[in-house]
């Protein structure tokens, strides 16, 4: 049985074979018992697939869902306003331009810290403030260090309280974000949350493990950074 005809069989079953080829295939089905047997099997398979029954999950997922929607801080909002543009299904808002510019400053600021680590001076391209990456010295795991062009700096602890406050600010401001951006940020936050949950579970089993504790702190710091970035995007420019 030639492969080209077995492949054509799939297309024929789906009604997607060109007429001339379909006619030839149908002729072959009458003289090739192997091909005909394959046709019967594939037809049965398609029918079984279409009739597969839906099955509930083994455990009740509702408690987890309820917990998330009750504590998620997602106050019921009106429908998302989606403005349709030609050739694009979503539009971004003008305030996000300012946010993107602020992100640019933050990006430039990352270079400030980086340059500081490398022991060289650096400028922030004329910006007034700059967000900086995390500290890495002893006892600094998870901390965020912010540097300003005037040489001052401050440290933010990646504590659960800090995360909670940032999440609340983001929840308050998310209506200003385009739904596509919301989706990306939510998925990325979900990624980090999964990592945090796994790290927490590991620390619970091995609380004295220094590496695990640092890994958990680092992962929480990642969440803080992402929330900071998201809040920049969601905060209207003044």
């Amino acid at each position: 049985m030639r492969d080209e005809w077995t492949e054509a069989l799939s297309a024929w079953l789906d009604g997607e074979l060109a007429q001339a080829d379909a006619a030839e295939l149908e002729r072959r089905l009458t003289v090739d018992p192997e091909l005909a047997a394959l046709r019967d099997d594939l037809q049965r398979l398609r029918a079984d697939a279409a009739a597969l029954p839906d099955r509930r999950p083994r455990s009740d997922l509702w408690p987890g869902i309820e917990a998330r929607i009750r504590t998620g801080g997602t106050a019921r909002q009106g429908p998302d306003v989606v403005r349709r543009s030609k050739g694009r299904t979503l539009r971004f808002t003008v305030p996000q331009l300012a946010a993107a510019a602020i992100l640019l400053l933050a990006t430039g600021g990352g270079a400030v810290w980086l340059a500081a680590r490398a022991g060289t001076d650096a400028r922030t391209s004329g910006s007034e403030t700059a967000l900086v990456a995390r500290g890495s010295g002893p006892g600094e795991a998870g901390d965020l260090r912010f540097a300003s062009a005037d040489g001052t700096s401050r440290t933010v602890k990646a504590s659960d309280e800090a995360i909670r406050q940032l999440e609340q600010r983001l929840a308050d401001g998310r209506g200003r974000l385009d739904s596509s951006t919301v989706r990306v940020i939510e998925e990325s936050l979900a990624t980090i949350d999964r990592a945090i949950r796994r790290a927490e579970a590991a620390v619970e089993k091995d609380p004295g493990n220094a590496w695990l504790n640092r890994h958990l702190a680092d992962t929480k710091a990642r969440k803080v950074r992402l929330l900071e970035k998201a809040n920049v995007l969601a905060t209207p420019a003044t």
Binding site: Q96, L104, G108, A111, V184, S188, R198, T219
Partner: protein, 285 residues
């Protein structure tokens, strides 16, 4: 996705109508190009060895974009009254090779080639592709990914949702990603810090005697090329992952039950590799 977007970019530039604006002006060769207010569009920047800048724009209207030059800053921005336009604004800009570049936008695809100065760019939804860059290269993309090649200096890359790829780079490197893999090839650096939450990490480059290298992912594999003759103290940390070394190593201790260390040669460089749940592969280049 990056391949698809690049194809779309190419298609847009090749079949698009003639630009509404095409202007050339004299500029300082070591000045700064600032591109702002790109709510939606593509920005394509090339360089040349002339003390001029050429700016071609496809936009809704001839006057949609404002160009201002106050030495040394060349400012190119979409006018506020045109920001609400449904039509994206596409730029093709050619500048002196040494000119610095700053670009920020929201739904912005950025493609820079031949940059000889500093580059700082930020986009919310769009890929950032830079070839070149000297001094400082700081790129930030929320969704879309970052690609950087042939660059030298202090490199800081941030991506939330998208892969980061760096090739033929020299200098201090810091890369942060959340949902994306990080790939570094042909790297010459003594200071590398790479971190992602969900994605693989690949490092192929120098491991200098005086260097410090930190590669960390939560959910992903790490592949680290270790050249023959490397002198490094290597620490591998993982919660439920595995280590696979292509050469013999002599483990010196199982600290905390999740970390192990070994020394190569004189042990001068510091190499820390960490994944919560993934495979760590140590290979020869």
């Amino acid at each position: 996705m990056i391949a698809q977007l690049s194809a779309a970019l190419l298609a847009a530039l090749q079949v698009a109508p003639a630009p509404q604006m095409d202007t050339t002006l004299a500029v300082a060769v070591d000045g700064r190009l600032q591109i702002q207010n790109v709510l939606s569009g593509t920005v394509r920047i090339r360089t040349w060895d002339q003390a001029k800048a050429r700016i071609a724009v496809r936009a809704e209207a001839k006057d949609a974009v404002e160009i201002r030059y106050a030495e040394p800053v060349l400012s190119v921005r979409v006018r506020p009254e045109h920001l609400e336009s449904d039509v994206p604004t596409d730029f093709e800009i050619t500048i002196p090779r040494r000119m610095s570049i700053e670009a920020s936008g929201v739904e912005m695809e950025l493609d820079i080639e031949g940059a000889g100065g500093t580059v700082a760019a930020s986009t919310v939804d769009g890929t950032v592709r830079v070839s070149g860059g000297r001094g400082t290269v700081a790129l930030n993309a929320v969704e879309g990914g970052v690609t950087l090649t042939d660059t030298e200096g202090n490199i800081a890359l941030n991506s939330v949702d998208g892969d980061v790829s760096v090739r033929r780079a020299r200098g201090v490197i810091s890369i942060q990603a959340v949902d994306g893999g990080i790939s570094l090839e042909e790297i010459d650096s003594g200071n590398v810090e790479v971190n992602t939450v969900d994605g693989d990490i690949v490092y192929r480059g120098t491991l200098r005697d005086d260097g410090r290298y930190f590669l960390s992912t939560h959910d992903g594999d790490i592949s680290l090329a270790v050249p023959e003759g490397t002198n490094a103290r290597v620490t591998v940390s993982t919660f439920s992952g595995e280590l696979d070394a292509a050469f013999p190593i002599s483990v010196e201790g199982d600290v905390d039950g999740r970390r192990l260390s070994f020394t190569l040669g004189s042990g001068k460089a510091i190499v820390e590799v960490s994944t919560f749940d993934g495979l760590i592969r140590l290979v020869r280049p």
